[in-house]
């Protein structure tokens, strides 16, 4: 379910907070509605860094984004991690916090990054149990994000859209829809991302991630890698317009960039492009609603 505070708001656009972008972000808060901060970077940060985050939160809207929970697993998430998220949320009071539908460890092995688990009933149930625990310990449910994968998850018995939809239904969490992840998985494994938007429960979408990537691998066996090091490609803006046409509630759109940082103006231009795309979709939605009412 979408929290009332989000449902009552308006579409917003922002950037992922990175040290290298800090000056650019702070100099352009008039063009940035919201900043997404990596929660894991702050769990054990010195007091001055946490104080800086509170200062940032006093100047603009902040949301927290986690990467290491590993919620989509048949194994229970670690209570210590949830306690850290709870403490950070209490300190910063973000509008929302989010995590990934990924598994990041198994049998004592830390994978070190987001990995797609087998898409099965067991991981649906495991994710729902983990997300319910997260809600109970942190006090609010996370927005859950679809991830990109270079490997077709072994042992899966359902497709990505079905799996995500089942988790959303059983956990009652809102969704952070990563459009480049959806796009990359579609190209890599033969699914149509536009069709996926028609099938996903768009009344659960409260936030959107935009990013870029690059092709890797030998010819004939290439895959699109979601690396956050490249500009947002044109098809992602088309998907964002479709989100605008389909999602009934306001969305927070975050542009993610993790390296090869361009001048801040270029990122702001991409944010403006995103505003126009979402607005075009919203206009389509409004026209449809008007026709329905006539």
């Amino acid at each position: 379910m979408i929290p009332a505070s989000i449902a009552a708001g308006s579409d917003r656009f922002g950037l992922g907070w990175r040290r290298e972008l800090a000056v650019g972000i702070l100099s352009h808060l008039d063009r940035i509605d919201v900043v997404e901060v990596m929660a894991d970077d702050l769990f054990d940060a010195p007091r001055r860094e946490r104080r800086s985050l509170r200062t940032l939160a006093a100047q603009t809207s902040v949301v927290l984004h986690g990467v290491s929970l590993g919620a989509a697993s048949s194994a229970p998430v670690e209570t210590e991690r949830l306690d850290k998220i709870a403490r950070l949320c209490a300190e910063v009071e973000p509008q929302f916090w989010s995590e990934h539908l990924a598994f990041v460890r198994g049998g004592g092995v830390e994978i070190g990054h987001l990995t797609a688990p087998p898409r099965t009933l067991a991981t649906v149930e495991g994710a729902a149990a983990n997300l319910n625990r997260a809600r109970s310990i942190v006090g609010t449910a996370p927005l859950v994000e679809n991830i990109a994968t270079l490997i077709d998850p072994p042992g899966s018995d359902r497709d990505e859209v079905t799996w995500i939809s089942e988790i959303l239904a059983t956990s009652d969490c809102p969704m952070l829809l990563d459009l480049h992840n959806l796009y990359a998985n579609g190209l890599n494994f033969g699914a149509d991302p536009m069709e996926a938007l028609a099938q996903l429960p768009m009344d659960r979408v409260a936030a959107v991630h935009l990013a870029g990537g690059r092709w890797i691998g030998a010819s004939g066996a290439r895959r699109l890698l979601d690396d956050h090091l490249h500009d947002v490609p044109e098809p992602i803006y088309d998907l964002l317009a479709e989100v605008g046409a389909r999602a009934p509630y306001p969305v927070t759109v975050i542009l993610e960039r993790d390296g090869r940082y361009p001048p801040i103006e270029l990122l702001l231009d991409q944010l403006e492009r995103a505003r126009r795309s979402l607005a075009a979709g919203r206009a389509r939605r409004a026209a449809r609603t008007d026709r329905g009412a006539a």
């Binding site: 010195p46 994978i111 070190g112 990054h113 495991g126 890698l225």
Partner: protein
């Protein structure tokens, strides 16, 4: 499917190059030695090999980048 043991097996072949090489040389044998159920063994025999190699390389790069960030930003 998706037992904790299966997820642990996947984690191992994603991060450990030697374990991955042993697995790719004998998927059924390695999966059975890990005590996986027959349907899990069967799923691993059909693994997306191109994806496995690309994912393992990508995960290694990301782990290195994360370590660099951790040790150079504080």
């Amino acid at each position: 499917m998706s037992t904790a043991r299966f997820e642990a097996f996947l984690a191992r072949i994603y991060v450990d190059a030697e374990a991955r090489a042993r697995f790719l040389a004998d998927p059924r044998g390695e999966a059975m030695r890990a005590g996986l159920a027959e349907r899990e063994v069967s799923a691993l025999e059909k693994i997306d090999r191109v994806g496995l190699e690309l994912a393992a390389q990508s995960l290694q790069r990301k782990r290195r980048r994360r370590f660099r960030r951790l040790f150079h930003t504080r």
